[in-house]
Symmetry: C2
Subunit: 267 residues, 2 copies
Amino acid sequence: MEGNSRLLIMGGAAGPALLGRFVELAGAGDARIVVIATASEDPAATERSYVERFESLGAGTVRGLRLAHRADANTPEAGAVLRGATGVFFTGGDQERIITALGGTAVDTLLHALVGEGRVVLAGTSAGAAMMSATMITGGDRPGVTADSVRTGPGLEFLPCVLIDQHFAERGRLNRLLSAVARYPHELGVGIDEDTAILTGGDSFEVLGSGAVTVVDAGAATDIRVPPSGPIVLAGARIHVLPAGCTFHLTGRRPVTGPSPERERAA
Amino acid sequence: MEGNSRLLIMGGAAGPALLGRFVELAGAGDARIVVIATASEDPAATERSYVERFESLGAGTVRGLRLAHRADANTPEAGAVLRGATGVFFTGGDQERIITALGGTAVDTLLHALVGEGRVVLAGTSAGAAMMSATMITGGDRPGVTADSVRTGPGLEFLPCVLIDQHFAERGRLNRLLSAVARYPHELGVGIDEDTAILTGGDSFEVLGSGAVTVVDAGAATDIRVPPSGPIVLAGARIHVLPAGCTFHLTGRRPVTGPSPERERAA
């Protein structure tokens, strides 16, 4: 991840506090926000809904950018829209639609440049969060920690070395995240609850929202065995459950701070 | 745990291989097995079902011991039945029924003695597994890692320093086990899948069956904060996912061995 990247990665069902934080990071009354609903089954309706929400939260200007096909993502018009943005938001839906339509296109390349230079805050929720990983979880909800309880594919890699899962507590997905990191121990597993987000800055992320972020670190494991079927051996992995206010250092693979005592007393 | 104790703790829905292992440990054709269905809503039917299964698996003699009320658990007759047993099996149902009917009774005291002397192999499934812990999970299936996503109470403490959860992968219970060990980091969290068991011997347990055992060790945590409501902070805990053939050292809080390479090649 380039040091200037500001990524706001939401686990789905984001409430006004998180969406408002995105508007604020993008410049509040001066924000120029672009909504990309490519993941959605009904992009027009999804786009309209987010445009209204960001407008009601005080964003300067908000517009949709419809990228249904790869051709749309290679037009000069799309590039011009993104160059004028201060914030870009990817909605939920099916993460594979994002990859198929955008992967390797001019929009993909341009977005990486704009985000890396710190000119655009990039946010995504649910499918729009999943696609931020280098290795993306595409499906799998079988119980148990087995090689076939998770399916993965390449993401757009805005946040390297991290494997994101979303709707995390709500859909009981710790099993599939453990399965994924057992297969790819190089990747740090980051499970984000609904109405919860990570905000990256430098080499760390901060947790925001009403739920928690669960980090699974198989780098620490002393023994990993992944048979083609049946249960996986994953011994000595590390796990961190981090609610709002906690900060995690990505390269160091360790939490930096917890919430302040003031926050706890207020809780 | 006394060094001679043989405890076979099953995560529910145990198939013939696990039940057969119990029969074998209890002496096979010489086994004298006692089934206690106190946890069940319909103890007569549950008892009958297990008596038939253990008989069909070749146990010498099998009988039920009906302990519906505390008075039943203080009779000389109940004591005589247990003294004649080589294996005692607790069925599933509601673990709190076991505690209410048996906790602190003559049967409770006698069972601890017989198990500690190695004269009886003690097995339990589901509720009969939960009650083996000192701190027993009594309920809670809310998503998220929060103080109120798990309810606990005292168990019968056949396996001290361990907190058992069952139907583990099938019911997505890692959240509640994390919540429990964050509150009681002294206890090692042991989540047992269906048709899966741990068999204790000395200071370790071995994993048996078709699923896996997930061990959560909050003793290693660098930061734990449990507010009365809302998400818990649990940083730096350790997690182990261990299928059949793995051995875990309880006092050392570490896996000792994984499955042999032969087993992996056969898988």
